[in-house]
Symmetry: C2
Subunit: 206 residues, 2 copies
Amino acid sequence: MRYLSHEDIDNFHHIYRINLINSCSGYKSANLIGTISNDGIENVAVFSSVTHLGSNPPLLGFFLRPTTVLRNTYENIKSTGCYTINHIHQDILQDAHHTSAKYEADVSEFDKTNLSSEYKQDFKAPFVKDAPLQLAMTFVEEYPIEANNTILVIGKINGLYVKEDLMEDDGFINLSKANIATINGLDGYAIPKLKTRFGYQRPKES
Amino acid sequence: MRYLSHEDIDNFHHIYRINLINSCSGYKSANLIGTISNDGIENVAVFSSVTHLGSNPPLLGFFLRPTTVLRNTYENIKSTGCYTINHIHQDILQDAHHTSAKYEADVSEFDKTNLSSEYKQDFKAPFVKDAPLQLAMTFVEEYPIEANNTILVIGKINGLYVKEDLMEDDGFINLSKANIATINGLDGYAIPKLKTRFGYQRPKES
């Protein structure tokens, strides 16, 4: 195996380092976060850090850097109190990834891609049309992370839209039935196929 | 599409709810976290919440519940200041998932499965032998999450062992070359195959 020390990592060219460190945590969730400003400008951006925090209450978190383009997402969430999480699937991979480009705050990525927004019930933030799984999220709290000046944003699931055929009898959502993507590193995408479910584990007797 | 409201989610049987909410964030990283107590008792447990926080410094975070069996992991990290993150791959899926069983603190999961520990250089925490990607982590800081009493643990990558053939020229680690797993929900596993890399995105001119 190749060993890379902390000193090696520090000394790599920064492109090499971001590719390496972004790949080394494992497969990541592939989501589009949709928001709208108080002026009515829609924003949609790819995130790979959406993480399950707990089921009761149903909470998800994600990390963002306040100093990048993603600030649009953050400012919209803070001013409206809501956002959507939409799953990236095979048919929209390229457009979804393109939302990582650094557009100015007055440009909507919905206008620069074939992604379309849609509104459901009275929820203020835009969903991504045709996403097989769409979550309406309410902002709960945030934590500034001292170690690197990122922000952990925590939201509660306010409602969930899911394609019927993904739902299994015990509540499990089979992501692979909708060709939902996962992210490797900064720009690698895969469409996993479910291999197995192992069930709840109890200690072995001996 | 099926719509599940916040009230629906609250009213589901708790098994249905944990399956649903654990599946709805998307694909998750599949890692074994290895620790050792000051008494020399090894611990290894599956985690699906390891998330990339930033590349410079190289930081990863994960969430845990202090009130469950995973406390062993937490207590060992706090007392020794270190832990390992080891990627779950196809050959060890069943044993890796079994580490979610609630063993007593004086039982090592290495003794209850075919997983083996190994030690490298002078790093105190045990790695999982034969994992294609192994990270030596140093504890940096923690954040108690008020919304649900979980803890965000942040660590710095102190060193990284990676199988040679996974490394690409630009630093990208191709996880699929080692049949590394991803997790869907609580107990679903998939072995993704890399489909495409799209590269760095710049705004479109028009």
